[in-house]
Assembly symmetry: C2
Amino acid sequence: MAETDKKEQVVTPWDVSAEDQIDYNKLINDFGSQRIDAALLEKFAGAIDVPLHQFLTRGIFFSHRDMNQFLTNYIATKAGEAKNAFYLYTGRGPSSGSLHMGHLVPMRFTKWLQDALDIPLVIQLTDDEKFLWRDIEFDTVRQLAIDNAKDIIACGFNPERTFIFRDSDYYQDMYETILSCQRATTMGTSKAAFGFTEESNIGKASFPPVQAAPSFPTAFPHIFGKDLSKKAKGAITCLIPCAIDQDPYFRLSRDYASKLGCNKPALLHSVFLPSLAGAGTKMSASATDGSIFVTDSMDTIKAKIEKVVPVAETVAEAGDDVSLEWLKFFLEDDAEFNKLCEDRLAGAVSGVAIRDRLVAVLQDMAAEFQARRAAVTDEDVEKFFSKRSLY
Amino acid sequence: MAETDKKEQVVTPWDVSAEDQIDYNKLINDFGSQRIDAALLEKFAGAIDVPLHQFLTRGIFFSHRDMNQFLTNYIATKAGEAKNAFYLYTGRGPSSGSLHMGHLVPMRFTKWLQDALDIPLVIQLTDDEKFLWRDIEFDTVRQLAIDNAKDIIACGFNPERTFIFRDSDYYQDMYETILSCQRATTMGTSKAAFGFTEESNIGKASFPPVQAAPSFPTAFPHIFGKDLSKKAKGAITCLIPCAIDQDPYFRLSRDYASKLGCNKPALLHSVFLPSLAGAGTKMSASATDGSIFVTDSMDTIKAKIEKVVPVAETVAEAGDDVSLEWLKFFLEDDAEFNKLCEDRLAGAVSGVAIRDRLVAVLQDMAAEFQARRAAVTDEDVEKFFSKRSLY
């Protein structure tokens, strides 16, 4: 291959890679989504009673589908001028016993959304997906899902308004919705949208509707009422915050919506938290070297960062400095973050100092998380897993 | 097409057709099953305490897989020389509100097997399959399944040893077994075995494991114990009586068995009850003209037969005389049946007389069925549907 050939970037639910930086503008064009612009942020800020989350103001959630329409309906409903209902949907494929920092991005943002919008939330644990994709025991993947649920609960979700479920427990309840989506999707479409081949197992080919189904209120009779009338279905809209690699699932959801008599879900897409080793990949739970887990000790966090994070001694912008890039995600204080960026660009602060600050921020975050995590009980899991009305 | 070109016979779970008679010898060769011979029948007769059913002695169940081995284990267990367990599995795709006479063939035979072998039985109602294959409402197909269950219960199955389930109710319980089978099947294999194409919906492509899963005791924790040890799994064998068009599903089961640590199911295959209009097709619940439903009135049965069944006034063997062919299925008295065959061949009885006898036999059978069916209550359905030990 000639040196000028650039490896094409790949972004699917199972593979995210590019030669250096992911080109997010290209993704917006390829996927056909919209950029989150200043006007949308202003509208969002006007719809809620708290300041916008730094993931929005710093462009970490950068792309959307139908968010304008969602906010219009939300604002009208809040003002008593319309009677719509809304809920949030996010999820997690339980591939390891604990979350890493990348998983916290959608979870922390979803928690903020739940509080800011004051609407119910459903969280899907796709243990069946992991079973179909890996050579792993069913009981093992079900246990990983419980472990992950405890980490998720430790993110602070409202127990009165959050339903967490494993597919292996809850599939039956979604079966009509899943079958309806499966009936509407040909093998050819599934292969084209997700890159499956003749050698892919049939469980994979028919899995996308399992992740698409929770976009529809019909999948949650206990939350929205067992017999959702046509009118009722049409008055409920789902909002899905996710990393942009998950978008293909929800494009399917949006295709299914009219067939199911439901609204299309709205979407908010995030960029990927880059690997500690640098841009071009997303952090993986399987590649432990470039990943920091929420359960890592303070010493481990320090050692991993000092081992893996490169320090550029030249002046650098956030995009070129992994430490600064990570602080963009996790340093909440806007004033401090902005000053660090300026100082770094001006050469007034060293790469090592930035990296030290990152170590401290992540240690604080992990310590806080671990304290909350230690308090999560089996009874909490039972509560979040129980089928109940969230209104 | 030249007149000498013979239409090739097609036998799949969804399509059975041939230009005139189905060539069952060819099916045995194509599918790789074994013919039920005199030695096997003798062994079978020696294993049980009642005479063999006429479906066996008259060759209506004509093909098998592993039935020799099944009987060897059954005999050893009955003699206290081995500790194996056995169960029967059959099913029905609920496509119309009531069964027709063709559906009674496997059901009546399965009831006889259950009594003769004294083993548990599971009956799957594949309402999900019908939903995936047809443009039908989910609630409608679920109700058809209940209606069919009442017909099935009226066949006289032992309520203490029979579990009937709709996939739409019971999918969750089989999920690990289904996923394990799906993980073991590529899209290419599913397409080749069942004739699916790129245009087939993904629900169809992943359905075969749903029908294969009940071949394994792991799908029935309430019957066989929640945590089937490897040893326990290996000591339970399933026996599946079915029309031979269902064989592709259970060839898959037999392929999966070793991966699941379970035994291969044994199979008993029947020919198809021909349409009243003549051989070459199986009776369909959708084509009402050539079908007699178990709910048809005495007058309707008479009228349908006299309208549709051709009468050959020349001497004829059973295969060439639809009435005699149907009597082979449903006239239980061996002496009378054999005499009718002889007399028909000798020209001592007319085609009309044979047809009149068929009318009377089917009227008696339907009247008896309808009386039993009228006595089936919602509580009976609840009992047969309830998850419980069948030992």
